[in-house]
Amino acid sequence: MAVLIDILGSSFIGGLVLLLILKLNLFASSNGVSSDNELRLQQNAKTLAEIIDYDFRKIGFNYSDTAILTADSNRIKYLAPLTRTSAVDTVEYYTSDSTQALGTENPRDVLLYKKINGVKQDGPSLGLTKIKFTYLDQYNVVTNILANIRYIKVELWVESTIPEMESKFVNPNHPYLFTYWEMKINPRNI
């Protein structure tokens, strides 16, 4: 009888140890993927922010009248010379719907389009799911008068481009990592 209890007891403890090792292995592999996914997500958000920041700071340079032509919450059209040598260009930023970003697994992401002088450039997706522009005057009060805009607040909602295993437990219908980025840009020439 005592031998049987010993065998059962040791089998139980051995089973627990085996489960622990199994969990450790699973965790190690999923954590590696998750960290990589997370890092890529943050890099994507930063890249998008840098692209927008770089272009928006040029708004109104070499142009003395109202440089912002359209100011919607998801679309902006403005005048800015995009290269040092070029004359003033008409630049437009807007997003596609979620059916256009076919290169990623995420069904919600959209493409960010940049149109220069009416010519559409291939935009990046980088997991962007939503972009919102808010226009503020010199006192940081929301305005829709184009000539009064001094700041552009940009909010980016970015998700991972591939599904993530750990997120499946949190949200099985949409297992993607998420990050949010906001910035306020004050183009010096408006």
Binding site: G9, S10, L20, K23, Q42, Y139, Y151, T179, Y180, E182
Partner: protein, 170 residues
């Protein structure tokens, strides 16, 4: 012999429990760090936003129209700042937020923000004169350099985020 086996079994269960606990702790820690990183990112963007806002203001109340070459005419440090009156920040020069017109009006200004990632961010501002030869040294007298520290805290991060910017008279 039976007693020794029992002690060994209890000991092994104890070691197993400790291992399991530390393993779960590590797992939790890893997730916490991941989430904390996102909160830090947003904290940086909030601090950066406020600095961007302050960049548009004049260097000093006395240089709103014309710059000065005389440091003595600038606002003394005792006159920096704003007070919260019924939830509205009013600077010592008499302007209420968001109508602050110079950098030092923001000294003592603070607000709370909730973002999609995490709530309860607290953003606070400190403004002071710094030495013109060493921007890390505070100056009790007027100089042509003002340093703005934007401090962002949150219950979800271990250390506050402080972003500093040094303004000079334009």
């Amino acid at each position: 012999m039976s007693n020794i086996q029992s002690i060994l079994a209890i000991g092994s269960i104890f070691i197993l429990s400790l291992t399991s606990l530390s393993f779960n702790g590590a797992l939790l820690q890893s997730n916490t760090v991941e989430i904390e990183n996102k909160v830090y990112l947003t904290a940086f963007s909030l601090a950066d936003e406020l600095i961007e806002e302050i960049k548009l203001k004049a260097y000093d109340e006395k240089t709103l129209t014309f710059p000065t070459v005389n440091r003595g005419t600038l606002t003394p440090i005792a006159s920096f700042g704003c007070d919260s009156v019924g939830g509205v920040f009013i600077s010592k020069d008499g302007e209420s937020y968001p109508y602050f017109d110079d950098i030092d009006d923001y000294d003592g200004y603070s607000y709370n923000a909730d973002e999609p990632h995490a709530e309860k961010y607290h953003i606070a501002v400190k403004v002071y004169y710094v030495s013109e030869t060493d921007p890390n040294t505070k100056s009790s007298s007027q100089t042509f350099h003002k340093r703005v520290d934007v401090i962002v805290s949150s219950p979800y991060i271990n250390n506050n985020v402080t972003l500093s910017f040094i303004f000079t008279q334009k």
